[in-house]
Symmetry: C2
Subunit: 518 residues, 2 copies
């Protein structure tokens, strides 16, 4: 059984199955076949055309895909009585040059084009820009990074374990390092075992894995407002609803948190209880207990980002939420990026077992685990007791730089600018008189070779002039030298004074918030 | 203006705003207030109770959140005329021990609980299990990992650049390494620049970032069926619709691919043109051109996973899809995990600019970039010309092991078992006579100390007895010693013979597929 007039050209560049499909369409168009006709069984047509039966099957499949034929299971294939839903595209030619440029890619996911997804990248590019005096970013001074000692640690690890470190390691991390971290957390009051510690590529990966573990598109996360840009970017990529809860000088406000918990039924609360980024607020223990009790009551997991752990240089350590909670409702994120070095790209997540199990599965599909080489090097560094003297040194240095910055600000900034005096961490938070825009100041300062982080970029409701926090900025003291701090703050002070004198609000309405500034 | 009978206890553990909210509810319950009543303005009630006005605002907010009061903007707050939508929960007490265990966490995302998300983790745990003779996994033999030379490379990099490598690096990667990779790809016929190369933590991260760049939940990806487990797991986490297209001995079937492109309008096609995992199929250049032309015609980006690049030990190299395409519609994924060492956790994605830009934003929020230490070490290793002799050595070794495995299989396997003879890569693909289940064989073999990868786990439609591919298995020769190969294959052969004799299909129906086995 054949199709009238259908001939196969075996020398054609058009594949045979396409020739058959095209031939059937042509035969239908010129009346050799009629709509509703039954096509020959694949076996018969294959025999008559002297082709493989699968080739005919492929042709029928293709026609079925466009709606040109239907009903292929068992009882034969029929030409549709209606015109085909879609045209069969022209047959593909190998190596066609199609002339399309970049615009060929048109459909990206909402994940990658989600709101604020590239905010962290912009902030990071600014933070790592090698220009002028930088108070942007939040990272250790390069001069303070222990390059020599760390190289020795890597050498020791490689000499001891050799090729084993060059192989795939356990997904959750290098066991000795996981145990060391659990011991250190236990020393600080947490109930945690190494088996609940997941090694991540810095806290950023921990944060992303945890958020992805709890949030589907449309789910809600509660955050302090303002908060870490990287958290906002991840939430944007997940198309989560981000509810910012205002803070006071003790951190997130429990009354507003409770109202938000009732109203929004969030899937998680993301908090930085110590040296909150960017406000530097520290939650006292009583506030921590209050917030924790609310989270438990409303059944909402807490993600505690302790990025500045071990960077307190005065005052008493306050127990982490994880410690106060006995590790039952809190997922804790730690990192070596700030207290030791960013380049090692090692952080960790400590989580209850049900959560941990899922985090490991996500870590696996994300990158099959962090490099054993760096983990083993870090473990040797810690085991050799190198962290304690390092922390002693950097804390003293950061305190000096903070004091220098405070001193310079008192000297150069107009009286109505307000700022925090954080007892630890890497930066402080500044509020300009109302009417002054830190975005404008940013542009002017950059021209004069001084960088800082604009406050609006940390706020949930976005960026730009007039946005919440557009009169705030974050100034990092940890990575600038004493001379740079003096010169940079003087430059900023001059600019603020000159802007202030231009400000339409000058003299009129109150220019400052109540002190404390939060 | 006050509320009758409302008294504040400043010594109570219950926060004042909660006392006010509770008091208003109590007053409504016992008739001191009536539904529909207007509550006192916050200013007035604050004055009468001698509390901060914000405290009253918080109380009203809380009541509004439950639907107990309404209409707070400007014109006063009224008790709702209907009962509240939700009860106001009992006030939170600090540090409450709640007795909840693990089951407290109940709501995880569909991402992490998506279909097959933990499939890669299971496969990986098996692959990295340190037991018996392992033909599972797909990675280099530890004996072949260049531990000494790589340590020297890291030392050279650290000595030259010092603390700079311990700081944050550029998100897209270490510039010299990106350029080296672009040059190497250019040498192989690609049009690519270093500025289009993103360094990732192995190809797994590249794959995840690319998939997340194109796929929203419900979107469709076309894959070869069977395919890499890690791709299936990522697609499950994204809740993408995964359409598996059958293969023949030249890779994915273009006729079925075209039908799938028409029917499913996918967002991407994921392919491994060379030494496809798990089938070891190699697409000839003509098939590559054909597939590429289809992808271009239907406007569907191609993700080319070239995980086994540089691991061909016989026959002629075939240009990558990326090279044939001039890098315009193909996103290329490469890795050092297989040809050099997994532990360095360095792979890369090469992408057209519009795609690249988005990949970098996702990389940023995923982990702020791969460690500069390892990238710089790898760059020194490559610049010193160490890769070429390494590849020469491992290719010779893998060819020997492949030959040994083929020889052992010929000797020990029943005649009706079929397998591939791959001209490169790390493993081969085996099909058992029909009726034999590789899952059962797996259990029996593990008891005898021999591991392999079950074929069903690579199939789109899942796993278990009776699933597609349940009579297939993947045997890795790269990581076992000659003695292990002989003993392990003999063990498997004995088991297959004994199972076969038990098989109900024995003697009856045809036991094998047509040759070639794909």
């Amino acid at each position: 059984m054949a199709i009238p007039g259908l001939i196969i050209d075996v020398d054609s560049e058009v594949p045979v199955y396409r020739q058959i499909a095209d031939g059937i369409q042509a035969a239908t168009a010129d009346g050799r076949l009629s709509r509703g006709d039954r096509l020959p069984p694949t076996r018969d047509l294959a025999r008559s055309l002297q082709v493989n039966r699968n080739t005919v099957v492929a042709a029928y499949d293709l026609l079925a895909a466009t709606g040109f034929v239907h009903g292929r299971t068992g009882r034969g294939t029929y030409l549709a009585s209606e015109p085909a839903a879609r045209d069969l595209p022209a047959p593909a030619n190998a190596g066609t040059a199609d002339g399309h440029g970049e615009e060929w890619f048109s459909a990206f996911s909402q994940t990658v084009d989600g709101p604020g997804v590239d905010r962290l990248l912009s902030a990071y590019q600014l933070a790592t820009a090698d220009e002028g005096i930088s108070f942007a970013g939040s990272y250790p001074d390069r001069e303070l990074l222990p390059a020599g000692v760390f190289l020795k640690s890597i050498k020791a690890a490689m000499k001891e374990e050799g090729a084993a470190l060059l192989a795939y390691g356990p997904t959750a991390g290098y066991p000795a390092l996981r145990n060391t971290l659990a011991e250190e957390m236990t020393r600080k009051g947490s109930e945690i075992r190494g088996s609940q510690i997941l090694i991540t590529n810095g806290a950023q990966q921990g944060l992303e894995l945890v958020f992805r573990t709890f949030l589907d598109p449309g789910d809600t996360a509660i955050v302090e407002d303002p908060t870490y840009t990287g958290a906002l970017s991840v939430l944007g990529s997940l198309r989560a609803k981000t509810v910012g809860v205002p803070m006071d000088e003790q951190g997130i406000r429990p009354d507003l948190l409770e109202a938000a918990l009732i109203r929004h039924r969030p899937q998680l609360i993301y908090l930085q209880p110590t040296f909150q980024n960017p406000t530097t607020a520290v939650m006292p223990e009583s506030r921590r207990r209050e917030v924790l009790a609310l989270a438990i009551r409303y059944g909402c997991p807490v993600v505690e980002d302790d990025w500045a752990g071990d960077l307190r240089f005065e005052g008493k350590e306050i127990p982490t939420l994880h410690a106060l909670d006995h590790g039952r409702h809190v997922i804790y994120l730690g990192t070596f990026s700030k207290k030791l070095m960013p380049g090692v790209r090692v952080g960790w997540a400590a989580a209850p077992k049900e959560v941990f199990r899922r985090l490991v599965a996500l870590k696996q599909i994300s990158d099959c685990g962090t490099s054993p080489i760096l983990q083993a090097g870090l473990q040797r560094y810690l085991a050799a007791g190198c962290l304690r003297p390092h922390l002693k040194r950097v804390r003293a240095e950061y305190r000096n730089r903070r004091d220098l910055m405070l001193e310079s600000m008192s000297r150069y900034f107009p009286g109505k600018v307000r700022w925090t005096t954080p007892p630890g961490g890497l930066f402080l938070w500044v509020r300009l008189p109302k009417g002054l825009d830190s975005g404008e100041l940013f542009v002017a300062a950059r021209r004069k070779g001084v960088l800082f982080s604009r406050g609006d970029l940390f706020h949930v409701d976005g960026q730009g002039p007039g946005a919440t926090g557009s009169n705030t900025l974050r100034l990092t003291y940890s990575s600038a030298s004493p001379e740079q701090i003096d010169l940079g703050i003087r430059t900023l002070g001059d600019l603020i004074r000159s802007r202030w004198s231009e400000s339409p609000h000058d003299g009129g309405e109150p220019l400052v918030e109540a002190v404390p500034i939060l």
